[in-house]
């Protein structure tokens, strides 16, 4: 479901899917200088991560991904943010990602489905 207000400067898209029996709500918002993705199964934002592409001299892109709020001992969440910023930066290189994951399980199958769903419904 896409935002219907064409005058509002921030576009957003909201949808819901079921992953391993858990209802997952996803909201993607595109601000002028950030992309916000919220994926929640618990009704709250959960762990919030920040990811951006680093300005670098080398040919290979480097990314800086960190947890800014919440669980800091879950590498799968960081990997998810890394995967998404990789995708985002190939379309809009200058927009960092704020990713919020409020999930009941942090298994790789769940996270892969979330990444696939976000990319399929992307706003960048």
């Amino acid at each position: 479901m896409e935002s219907v207000d064409s005058n509002f400067p921030v576009r957003h898209r909201k949808f819901s899917l079921e992953i391993k029996g858990n209802k997952t709500e996803i909201v993607i918002c595109s601000y002028e200088d950030h992309i916000l993705v919220i994926a929640t199964q618990i009704g709250a934002m959960g762990t919030i991560l920040h990811a951006r592409k680093e300005e670098g001299m080398s040919v290979e892109p480097t990314f800086s991904v960190s947890v800014i709020f919440g669980k800091r001992d879950e590498p799968m969440l960081i990997a998810t943010a890394r995967r998404l910023i990789d995708h985002i930066s190939s379309f809009v290189p200058s927009k960092p990602l704020v990713l919020s994951l409020g999930l009941k399980d942090h298994s790789s199958e769940t996270l892969k489905e979330i990444v696939a769903a976000v990319i399929e419904n992307r706003l960048w």
Partner: protein, 149 residues
């Protein structure tokens, strides 16, 4: 003599929250509300995303920039409100005060992104008032909000 700033502050304090009975907690799904208000020569954009146990708010000042991100909630045992700057910002953050007062008045668990520039307390107060009104209108406030002591 009361300055305009004091007047706005007073009216913000007087925005009363009636006790809500039967708040529909069963309503599933995430709800996104967006609206824009124009004040003098300033455009304020508001985005409210209601999750079941938390509310995300974005306030845009003339642009669609994300701004600084704050998390605010009431903390046990004494029901005081804590605010953390999660992304960006320096110590004199404009949004943290708004987040703090929002939680005090509404009892909600709030994540707020705000790019209102600093040194503009009047604008801050007006934005806060608009946001409070909208949150009440949408019925997102808790039945027994925390009161400022």
């Amino acid at each position: 003599m009361e300055t305009e700033y004091d007047q706005v502050l007073h009216s913000v304090a007087q925005v009363k929250i009636a006790d809500q009975t039967g708040v529909n907690q069963d309503e599933d799904g995430v709800k996104v509300s967006c609206f824009t208000e124009v004040l003098d020569d300033v455009t304020l954009h508001f985005q409210i995303i209601r999750l079941a146990k938390q509310i995300y708010v974005w306030i845009g000042y003339n642009s669609a920039k994300f701004g600084n991100l704050y998390a605010a909630a009431s903390t046990r045992p004494s029901n005081t409100v804590s605010v953390a700057t999660v992304l960006g910002g320096t110590s004199d953050n404009t949004g943290s005060g708004i987040a703090h007062r929002l939680v005090m008045k509404t009892g909600l668990n709030i994540i707020m992104a705000c790019n209102i520039p600093k040194n503009n307390p009047l604008l801050e107060a007006k934005a806060e008032k608009m946001l409070m009104r909208k949150l009440i209108d949408l019925g997102y406030t808790m039945p027994t909000p925390l009161r400022a002591t």
